[in-house]
Symmetry: D2
């Protein structure tokens, strides 16, 4: 049985036909009309129409950044798209004639890793997607946790530092402010601006202007062995490990999958994460340590997870 | 169908026959032989034998403080009892001839509230048991979360203050160090010892010796309106609310049940908890606020929950 | 004996002739040529020339934001002006023919309050200037503390929250990030952006756009009784009190003078500051509490203090 | 001109005749009658009488742990001795017939280092005495800072972790809870009790009982290269550096002298202190870094400093 997965990103809509083994057998993309919900739906429907031609499709799964209702049909709120309590599934069903479910994008990616990727041998998984922001997905005993309103898995906004760094969500000290790409780049820029000598090579690589430092630059230099870049990534990793330890006190996963752009740093990120996890996990002398593993599905995770959740 | 619930406490074993509506139709107690596992099992078996006489029993559920294996048969570790990787279910089955399941005591109490108590109308519940320590139980979509090793729900050891108060678990800044009865009494004693005038009435009520302050004394004075005692309880409540907000970012429950001895303070505890919860919940403008409600099953929760989980 | 005080601000140079009683008997102003040190010096010299005409002047004191060398002659570093290790006193002496001393502007203001303003009865004073940023001045036993390099009194960059809000200085959790005007406005904007209902009146007063909130708006609404604005100012005040308590553990002042633009909020700021100070001061049962008093010299403090320090 | 210095410790009174070069030319000791002020004074007078026999003495300086009044004559409060607002100088003057000044013991030790020990080339010094607790002394431009009530230099009770570890002083998160011998030993014991493998060698060295770990044991193992003991000392050192950086924002010393029992760890403590100091000092690109140096006067500091302050 085939289904279509749609991954609505800030700039691009990626859609694919996915089989029951999680293989993508056809794909297409559209650009994202971010400010007009109607155009966005038309673009999704158009991509679906293109893919349906050659395949019999049982349903559509759509992954989007934002708060998705527990009914898996409504977008409650999305920071980057023009949706507020928007009946996205109903709209796409009327445009396509196919059953539609909507999922949070981090949940879709997490489900793909659980079903077909890095966590196929686990029953209890935590996935942390470390991109510009921090996403999370929780599988317990084979079930994706969605919570009462559909908002479960918002690891980004656990408060880990009382009175810490202000977050866009209106709180202070959210985990995202210590672990995501934005945090990585901010730390680099602030330290560069203050004349921190360890940031010298990064400033040089940014053409002499610390304000031009970005995430790939940090990761690249770190992989070449630059101590300053490594320290920056290690600090992100350590906070990731601490956050995962606190989550594990609650959820006790057996595997922790780390994906997203910052995860390209590999063990430069995962090493410090594992160490901080072990140091901050309660009762660690009496329990197995969850394994930290890199995600294995890459960019396909969003499409595959959404498609599989639609079945 | 009747089952027996057994609640193994530090000083007392309480057992009861429970029907399918969560009603206890017979009870008995034994004192807890804390240092001898064999005597403890004999005492449980003895209580069961007494209760079985008049009733047909389908099985036994045992609730105990400690880390219980995911198989619901083994006590991995208990701080106050002499168990390490102990096959408690097997031992009790051979003594009683009945099927036995073992549960963490906070999980048992939480399940009772979910099935028959304060959370019967919810599908997603968080229970916080605020006694000497802090216990937690998580129900998601009608299922008790146990985690991969059986250690889920350990809300006590989420780190909420980096480099905060040392915890007996070997970490610093655990939620339990800010929310439980021990934290309440420690704050009172420390402030009294430092000559804090607001602690004056408490010291007086403790016979002039601040070191004699205990939890019921604080709760009692608070209910009489003493500002110092109220401030102490409000601070515990505020941390409970903050902790619940961070848990809700992960789990999105619809109801948060607060039980345990400190919960006797009622709205003196729950009021500040609700306020801090609302202030520390991410996306609170876009979601319903979980309700904070007092537990309604009282001391019966342990027996009833354990019995029901045995069915 | 008369001397001239010069207060070099980001937009305006204010200069005045000051007598031995701290009275200003003549003033003049120039606009600040912020990017050209030479023009700035010419502007100062020009203002001095204007004032000298009618008075016999013994010397010049110049107050400027920045790190001033212990020799009181050199500007080591200034965030907003184009000076790096700049021999300001020497340059102004050659332009004016008068002896010149240079002081940090917060030190100059603090000295004015100590000698002629709110702290005339004290021998040990802490002054906190709560403007856009946070300035500090310390007088111990009648002597202005300058430190080995001239950098003493930088209260802004005491770290009060480990891993807290990033500061422009390259550290995290500096006191300035919790107490100054910038912190006040940032909190208001962040909470407004997150849809915090308590920020509603502020958003309305800002013409419906939370991003237009500024300090005077918050202070104004607070003085009219708006709960949200009062909460924002109270939070700044509480951190001011906490910071002052930590400083007092070190320095044990008898009076704490609070000046700067945010101090216009009066007891809405000072009340919470006093309360937090008392709660966070060590050994408070065994010592007198320092008095928190508003500054009394207003804008004149910079001129008067600089002039007096030149004598 | 000779004077006598008296160092009143918890178990021993040490007294000595000190010349103008800070040399001790005669000493004697008495045991401390901790609970009876009168006996204590008699013991001090007795020691003085013994020393006076052979020397012409100009005055007596007494150093004691506790809060000493700004008049240098009164003990306001002492945690370990039976003094409350006690006129110690007056009492000793009437017993000895010599002029007496009283100083805080950390101040006395700091003054000895400033005048004759590790900081003789400096004008601005911070001394940190890392013993069971944390003591501090501040010299600015050659003057010992005492504050308005005599309580300056209480570095121990600067709050460095909001809501951190409870302190005996009634506050939370005081620097002493992160830097002193008590903190070192508590961390070792807590981690040992939680089964932290890194603490294994320490537990073994303590005869298999983690509760028997003490400071010299940690220092000794650290000097033999044990990673766990080194980590414990490095953590104390790092907090010492952080605290010193925050103090330096206020006071800008040129040298930071580290004494006390824990300082026996040498560079195992000072190395991490220096590193954390550099990382947490504001404007570090624009200023000289204060030097961290070990104290050089050892146990003599208390006698020598008290004697010199009496001149």
């Amino acid at each position: 049985m085939l289904s279509i997965g749609v991954d609505i990103g800030g700039t691009k809509i990626a859609a694919g036909v996915v089989d029951e083994d999680g293989e993508i057998i056809a794909t297409t993309t559209r650009s994202t009309p971010a400010t007009d919900p109607e155009q966005l739906e038309t673009a999704v429907a158009d991509a679906v129409a293109e893919l349906r031609g050659a395949h019999e499709i049982a349903g559509i799964g759509v992954g989007a950044a934002g708060f998705i209702g527990a009914d898996r049909r409504t977008v409650r709120f999305a920071a980057n798209l023009a949706w507020r309590d928007h009946p996205l599934a109903e709209r796409l069903e009327s445009l396509t004639g196919l059953p539609v479910v909507v999922e949070n994008d981090a949940n879709a990616a997490g489900w793909a890793e659980y079903r077909f990727g890095a966590a196929t041998e686990a029953r209890h998984m935590l996935m942390l997607t470390v991109g510009t922001g921090l996403g999370g997905a929780i599988v317990q005993d084979g079930v994706m946790l969605r919570g009462s309103a559909g908002f479960a898995g918002e690891v980004a906004h656990m408060v880990v530092v009382p009175d810490g760094q202000w977050c866009g969500c209106g709180l202070r000290g959210c985990l995202e402010q210590y672990t995501a790409g934005t945090a990585l780049v901010r730390a680099a820029k602030r330290r560069a601006a203050a004349g921190d000598a360890l940031m010298g090579p990064l400033v040089q690589a940014a053409g002499g202007d610390g304000r031009a430092i970005d995430g790939p630059l940090v990761t690249g230099l770190a992989q070449q062995g630059d101590p300053g870049a490594r320290e920056l990534i290690a600090e992100i990793g350590a906070w990731l490990g601490r956050g995962a330890a606190t989550i594990s006190a609650l959820l006790d996963p057996e595997v922790i999958v780390v994906g997203g752009g910052v995860a390209a740093a590999g063990d430069l990120l995962l090493g410090p994460a594992r160490e901080a996890f072990a140091q901050n996990l309660t009762a660690r002398a009496h329990r197995p340590l969850a394994r930290f593993v890199p995600a294995s599905m890459g960019n396909r995770a969003g499409i595959v997870g959404a498609a599989d959740l639609a079945r």
